[in-house]
């Protein structure tokens, strides 16, 4: 409930700018690097909200593994800089942007209208900053919740990872002629 922190504003602005750059970039590598930047900003935002573990995970998994994978793929497919091949006035273009803006405005509107509602009817949970610090830090609290309350989901996620590994291996194999 503090006022807007300047760091928040800076990181958010950079993320927004990078996403516009991603939309308009002609070079795929530029787009990938923009996405990487967005990930870093987001990690920073997580850190500022006292969720250190999630910030770390974001950096390691997302920025470190997923984006590297993307860049590997771009280099493997040898994608070159491409020309912009769309016109701004085609119907599909206008439909797309209209839909996007409508969705954005819808979400914002709901947020603004109901934000106060959250304040008065929601009972805040137990894990405010002081309590988390008391319990031993964000990682410890998260670990406790993960391995006690959400244990089943944890196991299911491991299974999903297994399936993904097998799927990726099978899909990327060369066909035996």
């Amino acid at each position: 409930m503090d006022n807007l922190n300047l760091a928040f504003l800076f990181l958010g602005g950079v993320a927004a700018f990078l996403s516009i750059a991603m939309l308009l970039a002609k070079n795929p590598i530029a787009a990938a690097l923009s996405l990487l930047g967005i990930m870093l900003c987001t990690a920073g935002l997580y850190g500022m909200m006292q969720e250190h573990f999630i910030a770390a995970i974001q950096l390691v998994v997302y920025a470190g593994a997923v984006m590297v994978l993307f860049i590997f793929s771009i280099m493997l497919l040898n994608l070159k800089k491409e020309e912009r091949d769309f016109k701004f006035t085609t119907p599909s273009f206008m439909a797309t942007y209209t839909a996007g803006i409508v969705i954005f405005i819808g979400i914002i509107f709901q947020l603004l209208v109901h934000y106060d509602l959250f304040k008065s009817t929601m009972i805040p949970g137990p894990f405010n900053t002081a309590e988390v610090a008391n319990l031993g830090g964000n990682t410890k609290v998260l670990a406790h919740a993960l391995f006690s309350q959400y244990y089943l989901s944890f196991e299911v996620i491991s299974l999903a990872l297994l399936v993904a590994i097998i799927g990726a291996v099978v899909l990327a194999k060369r066909k035996f002629d």
Binding site: S92, A95, T96, A99, V102, I103, G106, Q110
Partner: protein, 662 residues
């Protein structure tokens, strides 16, 4: 009046034994012998005869059981199996009832049926589907027995339809010949037309009485208040039922199937179209006689239809050249007599004539079968002649049959026919003009029967060379039943000696009338007629004289001529009409069949092709058209799909959100 009821399973066995015979002959023997063609005639015929003969023995046993019951109201053996149909107030019990009337019919069916089964073993010996033949014969007996023994009209109708089916199967027995198969179809379809009337009658009966059980209907009619309530609608009910009887018993206008039915084997003609199936209509009228008595108009219609049919068929029979066709029209004529008797109120006389007719008509048919068998399949009388010395047994028995049908005393036909003719003037429901029609038909009957005998057995031999070589008297399996039937035809008349003669011959009562009294109320016939003031003795003497005279003249005249037109040239052009059966078949074809055929062709070629197929194909065409228009959505472009999905998800979320908020 309280009818004594005995519960027993014998009626069920009487019905079931022929059914078992049908199943054995129809299903088991073909499996054992690998096909109908390889089943020996003796085995199939022996099994079939065994079952029907056992039924006969059981019927005799039932007869003696009934005879032992004392009392004015007589007795009945009731056999209740189960409730066939019990739904919404309609209860149809599967119950069989042996009472005075049905035991007479059962004895005729099983007795004459057994004789015909024995005869068939010899007649069908060389046929290659003998097993099928005997299975159909047994199935027919099952259906016919169900008809006469059923206590409910529904069971009677079941048997009614069953005999129609078996008639179709047996007429078209040699189905590879299209003409014969068509004759079977004609019989079945004409029967069905009549059955519509029967069904309408049944519906009306159920509406009025609330039940279809015959004994309950008759008991209800015995109460005067019920009879008064039913009387207005009784005309409609009985007319509808009579339409059904017209179809089954070959009266005008639905008689056209019976002459064509001669396409079937001769024992079939003897059993079905002489002795049993065609009499089902008469049986039904006799059984429901309290109902028919309530409607004067229906009785008049019945009597007139019967009389006119008798005369009509008699005139056609004079001009026929096929020996079986003569007998077929003779059957139609005699059935007309039975309905004439019912129409004037003499139901017991009708049953009496039914009984004697079964004897002598079956005898005549079986005899003609013997002649045909001896002449290697020749049926045209103009190619026969002089068979008297070659086929002595057949000649003697057929002569007895001819004398019986002509109404010559002491043979059976005299007693029953004479009683019918007298009742037209003696009973209150009679008419004097019917008397003259009856007498004229009797003269014609004697005339054409003598003509048939004369052309076939006397005169010069006109057989073809091939037939003459194979000319032989029939085996004893065929001749034996002929003699038995001849004995019955001779002595059968004494079951119903009329009062006048009975007094003269020493107080012999009218056995049959007394026996049928519980079911058919005896009507007293005065000695002097009501409608014509003639004494019964005078009528009797007149009929004897006329019968003998016309038989004798027919015998003498036709020794070497064939047609009346040969010596009465004035009748020449009219004779052609007679020979062509008054062109009735052509008339029906013109009025009914051709329009129906044109309608069917229209329906098949225009309506079916354009409208129905058009509708079905139209659905396909319409689907294609719309699919072509809608196909545009499938652009093949991944991102269009993605956009559509996103919009869809968003709309969904909005809806759920709106619903949650409300």
């Amino acid at each position: 009046m309280h009818t004594q009821i005995i519960e027993s399973h014998i009626p069920l066995w009487i019905i079931l034994l022929p059914l078992i015979g049908f199943l054995i002959n129809g299903a088991i023997l073909p499996i054992v012998y690998r096909g109908f063609a390889k089943t020996p005639a003796n085995v199939a015929g022996g099994i079939a005869t065994f079952f029907i003969a056992t039924s006969f023995i059981l019927a005799v046993k039932s007869f003696f059981t009934l005879q032992g019951i004392d009392g004015e109201a007589g007795g009945a053996i009731l056999s209740y199996a189960f409730d066939w149909f019990n739904f919404g107030g309609l209860v149809i019990p599967f119950a069989l009832r042996v009472d005075a009337l049905s035991v007479v019919m059962t004895l005729i069916i099983t007795g004459v049926g057994s004789l015909i089964h024995i005869y068939s073993i010899g007649y069908m010996h060389h046929d290659h589907a003998v097993g099928r033949y005997f299975s159909y014969l047994n199935l027919f007996c099952f259906a016919m027995l169900m008809l006469v023994l059923g206590d409910s009209l529904v069971i009677l109708f079941f048997g009614w339809e069953g005999v129609g089916l078996c008639s179709y199967l047996l007429i078209g027995f040699w189905y590879s010949d299209t003409e014969k198969a068509n004759a079977g179809v004609k019989a079945f379809v004409t029967n069905r037309v009549g059955d519509l009337g029967f069904l309408v009658g049944m519906f009306l009966l159920y509406r009025v009485f609330g039940t279809l059980t015959i004994s309950e209907i008759i008991a209800a009619l015995a109460r005067p208040e019920m009879a008064a309530q039913v009387a207005p609608i009784a005309t409609m009910i009985t007319l509808a039922l009579f339409v059904g009887a017209t179809g089954k018993s070959a009266q005008l206008p639905l008689y056209v199937w019976l002459p064509d039915a001669m396409a079937g084997p001769t024992p079939v003609s003897a059993l079905i179209h002489a002795a049993t199936m065609v009499t089902a209509g008469v049986y039904m009228v006799a059984r429901l006689n309290p109902l028919f008595e309530l409607s004067v108009m229906t009785l008049s219609v019945v009597a007139h239809v019967g009389a006119f049919t008798a005369l009509f068929a008699g005139t056609i029979a004079i001009a026929q050249t096929d020996i079986k066709k003569v007998l077929a029209y003779s059957t139609v004529s005699q059935l007309g007599y039975m309905f004439l008797a019912c129409g004037v109120g003499a139901y017991n006389t009708a049953i009496f004539h039914l009984m004697t007719h079964a004897f002598f008509k079956a005898l005549l048919f079986l005899g003609s079968g013997s002649v045909i068998h001896a002449c290697s399949g020749e049926q045209d009388m103009r190619k026969m002649g002089g068979l008297k010395k070659h086929l002595p047994h057949t000649y003697v028995t057929m002569l007895i049959g001819s004398l019986a049908i002509s109404g010559i005393p002491i043979f059976a036909g005299f007693f029953s026919k004479d009683e019918i003719i007298y009742s037209t003037i003696a009973l209150p429901a009679g008419f004097s003009h019917l008397f003259f029609i009856g007498v004229l038909t009797a003269i014609l009957t004697a005339f054409y029967t003598a003509r048939m005998m004369s052309i076939t057995f006397l005169g010069e031999e006109r057989l073809s060379h091939h037939a003459k070589e194979h000319l032989h008297e029939s085996p004893w399996s065929m001749v034996g039943p002929l003699y038995v039937l001849a004995a019955l035809a001779t002595l059968g008349g004494f079951f119903g000696v009329p009062h006048l003669l009975g007094m003269a011959l020493g107080h012999i009562p009218h056995f049959l009338s007394n026996w049928l009294a519980p079911v058919i109320a005896i009507k007293h016939m005065p000695l002097v007629g009501e409608h014509l003031p003639w004494h019964e003795g005078v009528v009797m003497a007149l009929s004897v004289v006329l019968a003998v005279a016309s038989f004798w003249s027919g015998w003498k005249v036709f020794q070497n001529k064939f047609f009346i037109s040969d010596f009465l040239s004035a009748i020449g052009p009219f004779h052609k009409v007679l020979a062509n059966k008054y062109y009735v078949d052509e008339l029906y074809d013109f009025l009914i069949l051709s329009p129906l055929k044109r309608l069917s062709q229209w329906a098949a070629q225009i309506f079916d092709k354009l409208v129905v197929d058009g509708a079905v194909n139209g659905v396909g065409v319409w689907s294609r058209y719309f699919a072509d228009r809608i196909r545009v959505i499938q652009t093949g472009d991944l991102q269009t799909y993605a956009l559509a999905m996103i919009i869809g998800v968003f709309a969904l979320v909005l809806t759920v959100y709106g619903m949650l908020n409300n």
